[in-house]
């Protein structure tokens, strides 16, 4: 079952909420981009995803300080929005070439992944059950187990199990995809 939060231009939040929301935005924007980047693999696309997430969050949590769920929501929404974005998308290579944003120099591990294998990973991620993909993305973007548990609304004791199953499933997907 899925819930969708579709923009309605008429439900614009009053300007009075902007200072509180701006603080929230500045605080959580890096984490949201990092999570989205873990899915879409492209910094510019990740920032586009983050913009969508925060616009949705502004309508959902116009006063984020008053909500106990806003920070968890934007994190899990970043993972879902990223997964939605890669659904069927095959234009990533083109977009990466056109990406004008400054990107930190790649580390040695990152350099091992060419764009083709990145695309395979994104496709495998897309084929996983959604919750498995989300737990992978949240944890591997640097969230602690407690933060993953909060974002996914699960007991922290279950995160290790979910993560283990998801990692195993992702490797299997990739092995199946590359098997002749």
């Amino acid at each position: 079952m899925e819930a969708s939060f579709v923009t309605s231009p008429t439900s614009m939040t009053p300007d009075t909420s902007f200072s509180a929301f701006e603080r929230f935005f500045r605080e959580h924007y890096p984490a949201v981009v990092r999570i989205a980047c873990g899915v879409v693999g492209d910094p510019q696309a990740a920032q586009d995803v983050a913009q969508d997430v925060f616009i949705a969050a502004l309508r959902r949590f116009p006063e984020p300080d008053a909500s106990q769920h806003a920070s968890a929501w934007v994190r899990v929404a970043a993972a879902h929005a990223g997964l939605n974005a890669i659904r069927g998308e095959r234009r990533r290579g083109h977009r990466q070439q056109q990406c004008g944003i400054e990107v930190a120099s790649a580390g040695p591990e990152e350099a091992m992944l060419d764009q083709e294998s990145r695309a395979e990973v994104r496709q495998a991620l897309r084929r996983l059950p959604r919750r498995s993909a989300v737990v992978l993305v949240l944890r591997h973007s640097g969230l602690s187990y407690a933060e993953v548990a909060e974002a996914m609304n699960v007991n922290v004791g279950h995160v290790g199990t979910m993560l283990r199953r998801a990692e195993s499933a992702l490797r299997k997907e990739l092995n199946d995809a590359t098997r002749p």
Binding site: E2, P30, V103
Partner: protein
């Protein structure tokens, strides 16, 4: 003992101090579990490499301006629907937006189920100051009854319990906090990084001691005869791990601490029943809590996301920024000692404090932020 489940083996890789000692001991003695652990570790390392992505140099200010431009344009303000697979918790959250009363009633009717659900009631994202005086501190101590008796050496025992006026406190940690011989050892124990500031004010001296504290988990079980809104609630608070690096020198033949840098994982609390607001109201309505302290805490807003920093009488405080993060600067009346506290995006709380004026302490803090 049963073999260690895969989920525990997986967490052992990332947060070893969060795994019970018994599981670690079993793994050390069990070839089968060690073999499973190697497979789990290999999968984890491979997936970590596969999911690594280039990290952009972010400009949150520019991104905020861009978002405002989008919001100003009804066409640009459109965004694709964000579809989130529903889980019971999110379903409650979603429903509460439009039908809060119905949900509340539903939760009341399904109290048993609700009690089995863990809710995060405290996961601070930023710090705020709370002025306190000695009367406030006495009131907080009395709230805990006789207080928690420290073990020898002034440190808490790794596990223990304490009867409180409104319930029972139990705590456990993966070991004692202890002095270690190097930053590398502290990092290995706590999984926290420490990059020493490149330049220090004159007279600060060298690193004189390093301490590592494993994560501590404390559980408060509120008694059944407490307020109905919180009775029977179990509140679990995790704090740490933490690393403290102390600088100092010799003055008049005795050692003097000039600067301390504390890095710790933010505390997080989960509740099996009561919400943040219910717990806050319960604590603040306890007898003896000064009305002014209650007012100051209320001014903090939503306590779920705020880490309160007590500011003693006579000290001054102001808001500062350390890198991209909001923090607070506290300066002693004399100006001879000061501290900066902030939380960074990775859920780490940083405290830099010492016998330095505010300019020097900020200079040190900003090298870390």
């Amino acid at each position: 003992m049963r073999h260690v489940p895969d989920g525990v083996l997986r967490r052992l890789l990332d947060e070893p101090l969060a795994v019970p000692d018994g599981a670690r001991r079993h793994m050390e003695a069990c070839g089968r579990c060690r073999s499973s652990s190697a497979v789990v570790a290999d999968d984890a390392a491979t997936v970590s490499r596969l999911l690594s992505a280039p990290q952009p140099d972010l400009d949150a200010g520019r991104a905020w301006a861009q978002m405002q431009r989008r919001l100003a344009d009804p066409v640009l303000a459109q965004h694709p629907p964000i579809r989130i697979s529903r889980r019971p918790g999110w379903r409650v959250l979603n429903a509460s937006v439009s039908t809060g009363a119905v949900v509340t009633a539903g939760l009341a009717l399904t109290g048993v189920a609700a009690a089995a659900t863990l809710t995060t009631v405290f996961a601070p994202t930023h710090v705020k100051t709370v002025p306190v005086n000695t009367g406030d501190l006495r009131a907080v101590v009395s709230l805990l009854g006789a207080g928690v008796a420290p073990a020898r050496g002034g440190l808490l025992p790794a596990t223990g319990s304490q009867q409180l006026p409104f319930g029972t406190l139990r705590w456990t940690s993966a070991g004692h906090g202890r002095q270690v011989s190097s930053i590398a050892e502290a990092s290995a124990l706590t999984h926290l990084a420490f990059a020493a500031p490149a330049t220090l004010p004159t007279g600060v001296g060298q690193i004189s001691a390093i301490y590592a504290q494993p994560m501590v988990t404390a559980t408060v079980l509120i008694s059944r005869n407490a307020s109905p809104s919180v009775s029977g609630t179990s509140l679990a608070v995790t704090g740490g791990p933490a690393m403290l690096v102390r600088y100092g020198g010799q003055a008049g033949g005795t050692s003097l601490t000039t600067l301390g840098i504390l890095t710790m994982r933010r505390p997080v609390a989960t509740s099996t029943g009561a919400t943040t607001a219910q717990l806050e109201n319960f604590v603040l309505s306890r007898p003896g809590i000064p009305a002014d302290l209650v007012r100051q805490i209320k001014l903090l807003g939503n306590l779920t996301s705020v880490l309160p920093v007590p500011v003693p009488q006579g000290a001054a405080s102001e808001q500062v920024r350390i890198g991209a993060w909001p923090g607070v600067l506290i300066t002693a009346d004399s100006g001879a000692a000061s501290a900066v506290i902030w939380e960074s995006q990775d859920g780490l709380v940083h405290v830099v404090a010492g016998l330095l004026d505010s300019k020097d302490i900020l200079n040190v803090a900003r090298q870390l932020g």
